[in-house]
Symmetry: C2
């Protein structure tokens, strides 16, 4: 069952290195991702996150998959398969929620991307060994006709019998993505081939079962983007056709009854008719990744336009300052337009990842900087905050405010090592393991740099390879330099995104001011580049005040602080003794002073200080409604200290706020 098709991806055979969402040569996209050596993170915060992910987070996942029973579920499925009988109705010893397999698959995807890095190190050998035994387990558990789902096999429930909640194709999608990741990463060819074969057998089973019919849709989108990616990897058109079918069939009740309505499953309206995101945020955003993949591969500009319309609506009315999505704990859902409470923000980590995936696909499709802008905001804030400094604890929910004594049910609202529903941690791991693939793209003879960090970047332009070494201090300092290592003989372009938080910087080439063309949010310098050429500039990272649009009811009258790509927050622990964060107002527009610091439990950071004043305290025993407008500046001036939001909750569990009441200076 080894793959025999030639890959259509950029006209190259299978096993050419590539990253996530690599369109075929025929796809309608404005930009292309890098292939071949591509990008490598060499230093800076993103490199450190990727390294931490490999050395601290992934080993934790390997332990947890054993402890939580994910591997045991597949072992039980293998036994059930070998004996030719299912365990019969019931759970039959199955552990955890029905989608436990997907936690393993996301971990395998992370390992897939990681297999290119330090394969001979201790961690590299551990990861490869785990992958080898996991693949063997999957081969053993997979049924003869290609079906594979440990919950169904162990419980004896009928296949595809309750697609609204069984997550069978959701799990299949993650298996496919793991196989695609391993197939796109050099080395471990035999293992990659075996995992791809498992994934293809399952995909072929899906095609045989669902193609051309109306037998149902998975309640949790994910398989759409996975099938499109498998098509890209294999050139096998039925996978893309099935992805397109699933996208087109949504909105007619085929996903069934979830008990939470059709919106929850994005099955309330055809995709082409929907104008705003509704229901479960992660489902909605995974679906959009599939929609964009299908639109790009089929050249369906109309379908693409509907996804862009929803992206714009989401940005305008359903996105937190951190980039996060999902305003409600109930149903883990998007809320109404402009319903953006900071305290009850759900902002599931998986939603940030899903929007990152979606925005990446729209960036490829359109070449517009605004998608990379949002990816940056997501990466450094909504996503970045989900991981503890030590890489060993994770947030599932990412609010912008935590009050005194806050718990969720009986649980302290802090990061946890793992979850009974553990979708987020391995999702974090697969994104970080592939992070370098999202730095840059190409269009024609231009290399576009979207994110700025320490990296080596090599692009195969039409005129030949362009290789550069990028040095950047973001998010802490704004200096960026790009040193050309190798370049085509003829002219080619180096384009840099101008972040939405920055004015266009003055570019220097080899120390001399250089002209650049500004378009679509990029500055492009086109010339004959020579090895040793250095393109340099400095982004201004002066801290700035941010205010909510008046339509956002939940943070009316508040202000927040940003610096470069970072959203800041105030933690109780950083405020002067005797200050109650919930009684503090910021003097908006007052001076903001940034200062590098090294904090215990956090490490390097840049703090921002500003002026604040205490609000008047409450009146015990009386209703909190007044007959006079609350006083604006009742207390004496004092200092308040903010730190980057992504670094919060690394010291204690006391209050945090991104938005504070604003007193006008």
């Amino acid at each position: 069952m080894t793959d025999l098709d030639a890959s259509p991806r950029a006209g190259t055979p299978t096993r050419v290195q590539a990253g996530p969402a690599s369109p075929t040569a025929a796809a309608q996209t404005a930009h292309r991702p890098l292939t071949g050596p591509g990008a490598i993170l060499t230093e800076g915060l993103l490199h450190d996150w990727q390294h931490r992910n490999r050395e601290a987070s992934l080993p934790l996942a390997l332990r947890q998959l054993e402890v939580a029973g994910n591997l045991d579920n597949l072992r039980a499925a293998a036994v059930a398969g070998r004996d030719g009988v299912a365990a019969g109705p019931g759970r039959g010893g199955y552990h955890g929620p029905v989608f436990m397999d997907s936690d393993l698959y996301k971990t395998l995807e992370a390992i897939g991307w990681e297999l290119a890095r330090d394969p001979d190190s201790g961690t590299g050998q551990t990861l490869a060994g785990f992958a080898a035994s996991a693949v063997a387990l999957l081969e053993a558990a997979q049924q003869d006709d290609g079906y594979l789902d440990s919950f169904i096999q162990v419980s004896g429930e009928p296949r595809y019998g309750r697609l609204s909640s069984s997550h069978e194709m959701y799990c299949a999608g993650h298996l496919i993505q793991a196989a695609v990741a391993m197939a796109r990463t050099p080395g471990h060819d035999e293992l990659a081939g075996r995992l791809l074969a498992v994934a293809r057998r399952l995909a072929d089973h899906l095609v045989a079962t669902f193609a051309g019919g109306e037998k149902g849709l998975d309640g949790h989108p994910e398989v759409e983007t996975a099938l499109a990616e498998l098509y890209r990897e294999t050139g096998h058109r039925p996978y893309l056709d099935l992805a397109k079918q699933f996208v087109d069939q949504r909105g007619h009740g085929l996903a069934g009854e979830s008990g939470r309505g059709h919106r929850y499953l994005q099955d309330h309206l055809p995709v082409r008719d929907a104008v705003t995101e509704e229901g479960h945020a992660v489902r909605a955003l995974y679906l959009e990744a599939g929609v964009t993949d299908v639109a790009s591969e089929t050249g369906d500009a109309e379908l693409l336009a509907t996804s862009i319309r929803r992206w714009e609506d989401t940005v305008t009315a359903k996105t937190y300052l951190t980039g996060g999505n999902g305003s409600r704990h109930s149903d883990e859902a998007f809320g109404d337009r402009f319903e953006l409470p900071p305290d009850r923000a759900y902002n599931e980590t998986c939603a940030a990842i899903a929007n990152f995936h979606w925005s990446w696909r729209l960036l490829l499709a359109t070449g517009q900087a605004r998608y990379a802008d949002l990816m940056e905001r997501l990466l450094y804030n909504a996503f970045g905050a989900s991981i503890s400094t030590d890489g060993q604890r994770f947030f599932y929910v990412n609010p912008l405010q935590r009050r005194h004594d806050h718990v969720e049910e009986d649980e302290e609202a802090r990061r946890h090592e793992w979850f009974s529903c553990a979708c987020c941690p391995p999702n974090i791991m697969r994104l970080l393991a592939a992070l370098q693939h999202y730095l840059a793209t190409t269009a024609g003879d231009t290399l576009y740099l979207h994110q700025f960090t320490g990296a080596r970047v090599q692009a195969a332009l039409a005129g030949g390879p362009l290789a550069v070494t990028m040095t950047a201090g973001l998010p802490w300092s704004g200096r960026v330099s790009i040193q050309v290592e190798q370049a085509p003989d003829g002219p080619c372009g180096l384009a840099l995104r101008v972040p939405s938080w920055s004015t266009p910087p003055q570019l220097l080439i080899n120390g001399e001011p250089a002209a650049a063309e500004a378009a679509d949010g990029y500055l492009t310098v086109t010339r004959v580049w020579r090895p040793g050429d250095v393109l340099a500039w400095t982004f201004t990272l002066t801290p700035r005040w941010v205010y909510p649009h008046p339509r956002i009811d939940a943070v009316r009258g508040c202000a927040a602080i940003e610096r470069g790509p970072l959203v800041y927050c105030f933690e109780q622990v950083d405020q002067p003794d005797g200050t109650d964060l919930d009684d503090l107002a910021l003097v908006a527009g007052s001076g903001l002073v940034d200062q590098p610091a090294e904090l215990p439990g956090i490490g390097p950071t840049v703090l921002v200080e500003t002026e604040a004043r205490p609000l008047r305290a409450g009146r015990p025993g009386e209703l909190p409604y007044l007959t006079a407008f609350p006083p604006q500046a009742p207390g004496p001036a004092q200092r308040a200290t903010a730190l980057p939001y992504f670094q919060w909750d690394n010291r204690d569990g006391r209050p945090m706020r991104v938005w504070l009441p604003a007193i006008m200076a």
Copy 2:
């Protein structure tokens, strides 16, 4: 099984008319409820609500209990009981959630209170006929040892096997309350005796099963207050002892695992240690009714003090302007202190009812007007809004804001005729049917009037009966007059609550200014009253601005309007064409003009007009975060019209807001 005990309630035998929460003569309470003829609503809004409840809502409930399967469940239980076998594990044809019996019991309680009014009218005969057949059904379904729960009997699940969620004792509590209501209402003696016998057999079964042991607690408090009431009605001390035991045992995990933690069930802390309400709001508030009953009957001042402490904390930090409680859809829960979002307010109707019950008990225990103040706020706002003008549709959730196109899952966020979880409608009905019992109390030789509406009130004071006819235009007009019909020979007091929204009015006796003693939120006139004496005054109902305490993040920078006891709201339908309610700011402090009106679909009301200005519109496709503080008054002045919150959603499903952004005049 007819009751043989003498009732200890005020030293009178059983079948003396009384209302809910009537303490025994030995109870430690500052005030006493009326007994005997007590109060009768004669005219005005509360009378009309009670009449509508009887003529429109209760007949609807009788139909729905048949349609939804509540009666069929008990019929199936009766068959299972007759055949001596349970249906075996599974639902065995059982319909609906496990607590379906309680919907019937609440309806029976409403009928119990109603049986004193117009028994010979068509509706009276319908209600009595329904009650008779329901009591016969309960007698048939009750098992020989007194156990009665249709879910357990029909499904065959073990009794008390999963008390965290089975609601067995919750249902038992509502059965007991229905029986107590019927026992305290004149007429229908034989039926009342039979229902009380059923309730006592079940209560005796609970005593036999749980008294003195640690066999568990119901996950949904309710039986505590019911058992205390049954003790009051029967004088049988083991009922009170079991209520006290259940109160004392809470907080040690005896309610079991709900899947939502111990807080959800108020089982995370002993009652005496808890300082704030947590978890499911209705459960928490029903528990407090039981706590207060137990404290009053056992003279446990320390226990009472903990309940008062939590009531104060709830008022200060967890109560909406409407009086509602419950800030979260997730777990239908109280939120953090000062977490009071208007749009996602849960404010379950049952929570308003439960707090009304609790506050009534604290009013009896302490004689302080603040409890009647909150009852008034709850009654006219959080509770009042739960019913449509025609009495045929109900809110389960009572937010203070509804945005454009808002749905909950797939359901339009409007009132519904009934619910799959139908706890609220029959709860509304039992409160309205007993409404007159909450108007007045006595303490020594003084009659305290807490709510002002058209009513005849008769109190048995030590010196003899004091009977008055009250005329009051509330909530529309502020004129109140009390005409004495019968009075003791010696001096006695007439006390009136001065609502928190009013200054102390000038009292007139027979048209002449009269002095009154002010204490505990009451004005008391003590004198020798003569038939024909008239005590009159006028509350000022000028509309007023209200502002949120700065600690409430969710409505910072907003203003609302109240008039007398009524909270006002703005509905889109009342604003000028071309105005978008979500883009409107109020000019806070500007003039408020009230005007009586008659609205289609609503009937009589008083509207309030004020000055408003449109806010600036959004920027499509961009994040809703600005680098400059949003402008304060960008648009031209226009009028905005508010109507009483309790009358909202009787015309269309468009936006509504209680709080609007405030521009300072």
